[in-house]
């Protein structure tokens, strides 16, 4: 009797373990099976590099959205990485334990705030600020970059903080003993040693920024045209899906799913990069 029970439970556990494999397989299957035919019908080059998105006129070029996603992600990295990295250095090497007890929950809370709330905050605070400073509607690439920069902070901070903390103390002590100041020891001896962990943090940040939807949709302006300046509105791959999937039909709907496929491929590449960097770091 117990033997049967042990056997069945063993199988139950095995099946459960296979669930995540099944999930990834299903996601790939459904995404590609629904998206790839549309890409084929529109034409790969027309779809990826086409500059006009006019579903009414059967024109499905998502190049403006790809560029939009890349721009806002790059901007978010430019804003978020220096602040996040320096903040992580502060938390790991500068801040007294008492202050750390406040900083750590603060960063966790920053990570826990729903993206829709971030989007709302961007809409009612950052957008008017940009509008008053630069004119225009205030919904543009710059606004999106600032908000996304804030949103990736907790990812960057927590991953790089643990990378910095993982560096053996002897590195720091050695630099200090050679007469360097505290700051120089941290930046010249400890940070280079934490390089791969920091790189992993940046890659994770890129993944978060490129996949962010609800916040971007509120503040980026959502124009499906090629942006010509920092103050132009953009539409990202993610917002394109949410904006139009509700009413799209036929080829239009399939083109939106194909947009998701392109995003998915981007994410897979980023994931792959992440695991390569992590493996390198583990060596």
């Amino acid at each position: 009797m117990t033997k049967v029970k042990e056997r069945t439970m063993h199988i139950v556990f095995l099946v459960a373990a296979c669930m995540s494999i099944l999930a990834v397989a299903m996601i790939c299957l459904f995404m590609f099976a629904n998206g790839v035919p549309a890409i084929r019908q529109i034409g790969f080059v027309n779809f990826i590099f086409g500059k006009t998105w006019m579903p009414g006129a059967n024109k499905f070029g998502i190049f403006p959205m790809i560029i939009g996603s890349i721009y806002v992600t790059a901007g978010a990295i430019i804003i978020g990485v220096p602040i996040g990295l320096l903040c992580a250095v502060f938390m790991a090497k500068f801040c007294p334990p008492k202050l750390h007890k406040i900083m750590k929950p603060a960063v966790d809370l920053l990570a826990g705030i729903p993206s829709i709330v971030y989007g709302f905050f961007g809409l009612v605070v950052i957008t008017p600020m940009i509008r008053n400073t630069f004119g225009g509607s205030g919904k543009n690439i710059l606004t999106a970059c600032i908000l996304l920069g804030i949103m990736i902070l907790p990812t960057i901070i927590s991953v790089s903080e643990s990378a910095i903390r993982a560096v053996p103390e002897s590195y720091y002590e050695g630099a200090l003993a050679l007469g360097d100041t505290h700051e120089r020891s941290v930046f010249k001896a400890v940070l280079p040693a934490a390089k791969s962990g920091i790189l992993a943090a940046i890659i994770l940040g890129i993944g978060r920024a490129i996949g962010e939807t609800m916040a971007v949709i509120m503040i980026a302006g959502n124009h499906a045209v090629m942006p010509d300046s920092l103050l132009a509105g953009v539409r990202t791959l993610t917002s394109n899906i949410v904006l139009e999937l509700g009413y799209a039909t036929d080829l239009h709907r399939e083109a939106l799913i194909a947009t998701g496929v392109v995003l998915f491929v981007f994410i897979l590449i980023i994931n792959l990069l992440f695991s390569v960097v992590k493996k390198k770091g583990a060596k």
Binding site: A17, M31, G112, I267, L268
Partner: protein, 302 residues
Amino acid sequence: MSEQAVAAKADMEAIRPINVVTWKDKLAAYKKRPLSMFLLMAVTVSAVITVGVLGALVIYILANGIMNLSPELFAWKYTTENVSMLPAIINTFLMTALSLLIAVPIGICSAIYLVEYAKRGNKLVSIVRITTETLSGIPSIVYGLFGYLMFVIAFGWGLSFFGGALTLSIMVLPTIMRTTEEALLSVPDSYREGSFGLGAGRLRTIFKVVLPSAVPGILSGVILAIGRIVGETAALIFTSGTTAEIPKSLFDSGCTLAVHMYKLLSEGLYTKQAYATAVVLLVMVVIINAASGKLAKKLQAK
């Protein structure tokens, strides 16, 4: 006092212990090393910005939102006049419970397999690792699309609460798996050996000895998952829909609070109500974070 004693006292005062660094010394040292001073300022400013942004966000939303909280917003039934969020709040709890009901058993069982059953160098384990990592990197909109394609279209359920819960449970599965795995790994092997030594089988050892001591770790994963579910929007819009009512069955549409807030914002007429909704969401997240913080402390104390 003799002259000698006075001189000795003056000498004593002139000698400063060399192992004490005053603020003045520090300032002087930094003046000599501008790079160090700059770096110190840079890290401090960054930390201030990070905390400042959080403070600004929380204070701004609380300050503007609390006065917009009114009893009509918590009416039992949603109408376009009162824009009640109570159904959405209840839906949020239901959605969380349902998603966890699906994800937690699967997550725990698969972690058990990975830690307790799989042999070292098992190929399956490395595949599972890769897939969970992939799952945790997929953005919520892709989950939303997948849920839409699978549950809404292929299964023909239409916009359904159950479809949304299934989508979310796949989304939080990696979180639960990873934390459970870590919790199981941190249970000392001597527990297992002791249990085996007393004649217990593998299954009994797992359920009576290993799992109970891993509970706090598992709980922290569950709390993380709750946080993600409560804040999730993009994965739910096209799976569970935006109907602001408590679903009568699992296959009805029903929106959670975050989706409700998105709807309010996209209609553009309800900014006040959106503030109030943001307050409620924020309070939920703060409570969830506080719970996970407390749990983490308990884990560390062990």
